[in-house]
């Protein structure tokens, strides 16, 4: 049987085609955008993408410490947002194992005023290493000791600080016992512990940024996922950075060869990105009343929960500060929990105050009983003895070679991130992005051509 093709049939077919084509034409940019978006809200994730996520918020609690989940650490998939938060506690600024390193740090002001320093750090940590050592300590107990010995600039040479870190909870709130030695005073002085929101001298990094935060002080929520393609940003004026290699030699390393999670990390996307969960931590009022950063958003890598990017929001909901990191596997014995930051960037968006810290020459140590008794006591500092002399050349020598401010990523999670920064700071950000290095002139910051 043959069907007769009528004119009306052709007209109606053409009309349908027109509608379909018009629809496709209108939808195409959105489809393209969705495909090119590196981030997704939780609601947009597929079943497959949700496989390792546990959306429960009222999981069973530990019988002795109710602020811990009942499931034994380090947990198994699927992970709740809270468990992701606990896993990220594994990676504070100072590693949770026994080590020595030299930290090269510095900050730059919008004028280009550069300040840098170098300090040797010795750390003693209880067995077992890692976060479990912290959990095993009793609240109020000293669980780790850090001795820092400044070697640069000249005015700081010989300055030393011993920090005794306490395991804290809701009742035992003292985080640090702090002793310092200054060659000018020739005395070991005890200092009150800094307030958690106080910044380090000449630095946007706060005391809590430095020590890390306890996950149980926050409520956790998964916002979505993202693929980060860059965290620490080198200026185009600095093609290499000198880092200490495993054998102790100093080597110029091309900055392009540095990967966000180091060479051993197996989960890079084909483009070199790191898939992350984006989670929100909100300060619990009964633990942290009037906390200076009541809301924090973390980008945690999806496999080890390493915080590659952190954004802090103030009481008014606006962005206050950012931290980005470049990490590597330093402690293979701890496997996925043995990652540690090589380079960290802190940026206070309100002050436009930018800083970096490079953990160079990081070496795991087995301290002898003699070492433990000798180096990690306040009295040791007045001996002005540098038992593990180290050098670093990772420093930023001129302001123009300073690291760039982190990406703002204004397009990502717009409903969750309120990024309002002053026009002059915005202008400087745009100028830096265009130039590929920091731009310090006020003229440019005001939107006119600078040098």
């Amino acid at each position: 049987m043959t069907r007769r093709v009528t004119v009306s049939w052709i007209v109606s077919l053409s009309a349908w085609w027109g509608v379909v084509c018009l629809g496709l034409l209108l939808m195409w940019p959105r489809l393209l955008l969705a495909e090119s978006r590196s981030w997704k809200y939780l609601s947009e994730l597929s079943e497959e993408e949700r496989r390792d996520i546990d959306l429960r918020t009222d999981t069973p609690r530990d019988t002795t410490l109710p602020y811990l989940p009942a499931e034994p650490y380090p947990f198994t998939p699927p992970y709740t947002a809270e468990e992701m938060g606990f896993r990220s506690m594994e990676f504070p600024h100072i590693a949770r194992w026994n080590f020595t390193m030299i930290e090269d740090f510095g900050s730059v002001m919008p004028t280009g005023y550069l300040s840098t320093g170098k300090t040797i750090v010795l750390s003693i940590y209880p067995e077992p290493e890692g976060l479990i050592g912290y959990f095993n300590s009793k609240p109020g107990e000293v669980y780790t000791r850090w001795l820092s010995q400044d070697t640069y600039p000249p005015e700081n040479l010989g300055n030393q600080m011993l920090m005794l870190q306490h395991r804290t909870d809701q009742t035992a709130t003292t985080k640090t016992d702090m002793f310092a030695y200054s060659p000018v005073l020739r005395r070991v002085r005890r200092f009150p512990q800094p307030r958690r929101q106080d910044r380090f001298p000449d630095n946007p990094m706060t005391f809590d940024d430095f020590l890390g935060r306890d996950a149980w002080e926050f409520t956790w929520r998964i916002i979505g996922t993202d693929v980060l393609s860059e965290t620490v940003r080198f200026p185009k004026t600095r093609p290499t950075i000198t880092l200490m290699t495993g054998d102790g030699t100093l080597k110029d390393t091309p900055v392009q060869s540095l990967k966000m999670m180091g060479d051993e990390y197996p989960y890079y996307t084909p483009e070199g990105g790191v898939p992350c969960y984006v989670v929100e931590a909100k300060a619990k009022p009964d633990w942290l009343s009037n906390y200076y950063a009541p809301r924090i958003i973390y980008w945690l890598d999806q496999h080890y929960f390493y915080p590659l990017r952190t954004e802090q929001y103030g009481a008014d909901g606006e962005l206050v500060a950012m931290e980005t990191r470049l990490a590597a596997l330093y402690n293979p014995d701890l496997k996925e929990r043995g990652y540690h930051n090589v380079i960290t960037i802190w940026w206070n968006a309100q002050l436009d105050f930018l800083a970096y810290g490079v953990h160079d020459g990081h070496r795991r140590r087995q301290w002898s009983e003699k070492d433990k008794d000798t180096y990690f006591n306040p009295d040791f500092m007045r001996r002005v003895w540098f038992p593990i002399p180290m050098k670093t050349q990772a420093t930023v020598r001129v302001p123009e070679d300073f690291f760039l401010r982190p990406h703002l990523y204004r397009d990502k999670f717009p409903e969750e991130r309120k990024i309002i920064i002053a026009p002059e700071v915005e202008a400087r950000v745009q100028a830096q992005d265009a130039a590929g290095h920091l731009v310090f002139t006020e003229t440019l910051a005001n939107g006119q051509p600078g040098q």
Binding site: S107, G112, P154, D202, D352
Partner: protein, 534 residues
Amino acid sequence: MRKKYVCGPRRAPFGSPGNARVWWAWWSVVVLSVVPLWRPVPCHGGMLGDEWSRVDRALSIFDPAGTYVSQPIEKAIPALSFKGFFRQWSDINLHRNQKVGFRNKDFRFLQLQNLLEIELHYQFTDNLELTNINHFLYDGVYNWQDAGGLFAPRVSKTARYYHNFERIVQEFFLSYRTHSFDIAIGKQQVAWGKMDGQFIDIINPMDRRESVQLEASDYEYRRIPTWMANATYFFGGNSLQLLYIPNFEQDRLPVPGSPWFPPSVPPSDAIINKRKRPSAGDFGDHEYGARLDISMDPLTWGLIYFYAWNDNPDFFITGHDTADGTVRPILTPRHTRLHHLGVTADYAAALSGVPFIGDLPFVLRVEGLLSTNVKFADARRQVAALSGGDTNGFVDRDTLRAAVAVEFALPENTTFIVQPSLFTTFGWRKRLVSSGFGGATAGNEWNLLPVVFIERPFRFTRDRLRASVTVFPFLGSPGQHYEGTKTKLVVSYKFSRFITGRLIYTTYDGGGRNSTFGQYDKWDNVGWELSYEF
């Protein structure tokens, strides 16, 4: 008497009490305390434009001595570490030239000091090191102003510049260390104690040319190192230090004709014999010290003992002269032996739920020193001595100097310290007419200095600008109830990692003309310090 100032009289604010400066100093303390309680206003970017930006950038990496001296030397001799600083201090008196007490104050510059320090460390092995620190000081006050009242270099060359080995070679010692043992032999300085001020910091004498304006931050450069053997044994978190000091050095007080020589001291017609000083060649004249430090978290504490000489001689009456018809005492300055027993402790904690602040971390420090056999001039015995009696005019007393300091960490990196310090003479009686080591001032049984200090950095400068106020009220009883108040306002600015500048305004108010601070009523001054470290 109303003061007259170089810059014209200052007007006291309406309704302020008589002593307006002290009042304003207290206001400064209050303002610096309260300001941090407000939420800070964000400050965006630089404010002085491109030119300042260029200067600031260039200054932040300006280090010629480091680049062209230290680094090449260290590169050529890897075992040597080389560092140093150049510091310029200047203080300008704010009062017109006039006669004050027994002095003709016809000078404005109180100091124009330039100090170059060169510090060398040579590492022979991991354990053995040689340290050498040299000071080259020149004070321009005697050359750069025309003042008849300044003639100190005629009394002591050191007032103008360091000219001998003793003062130029500040430290020179060999040290050897193992895990549990340190020994350092040579010329060195040792600072004991945990708190500001000198309580158990008694090992080295001090160059006190700045008298009441000598600050704890200057002790490092003003201490006079001595030759000694210094051994410390470390066990656990504790340590035991032993000192053996064969070489005695005395304090250097402001010499007559120097800017800070006290105006309350009358000219004397006494005949003064040569000072007798303890001899390095006499084993019985050597000094010995011991210090034990114990760490018992959260408390650390320590005990010290020092068998020492008094760093300042007592002027014993050893006769009198009546050659020209008047009785002139013959005085023999002599150092006397003292036993010092001291204690030091500190404790850290935090107050919670403090209104407006929340948690308030603090540290408590305590320090005390009991000194025995301190000599005090006794009026009755002085008369007897002048009459040829069998006495030298002095009696022995024990003294105690002690302090309690509480340091609070306020919001915005603000530090607030309250430190009441007590100086007391045991067995005091009215006829004690002099002061003595560790005791109260002449005429007083005790003195109390409730020192208050507050310091904060300024956020809009990213902490480069800091301001501090220190108020030292000086009280006493039963003689001089109020010895005046010293107030110091300091503003410091960090030009770079290498260069720091400070502006300092110091006033002396209240008290009588013979009192500790009161006698310097016309010594209010403004000064600056510029320091370059390399």
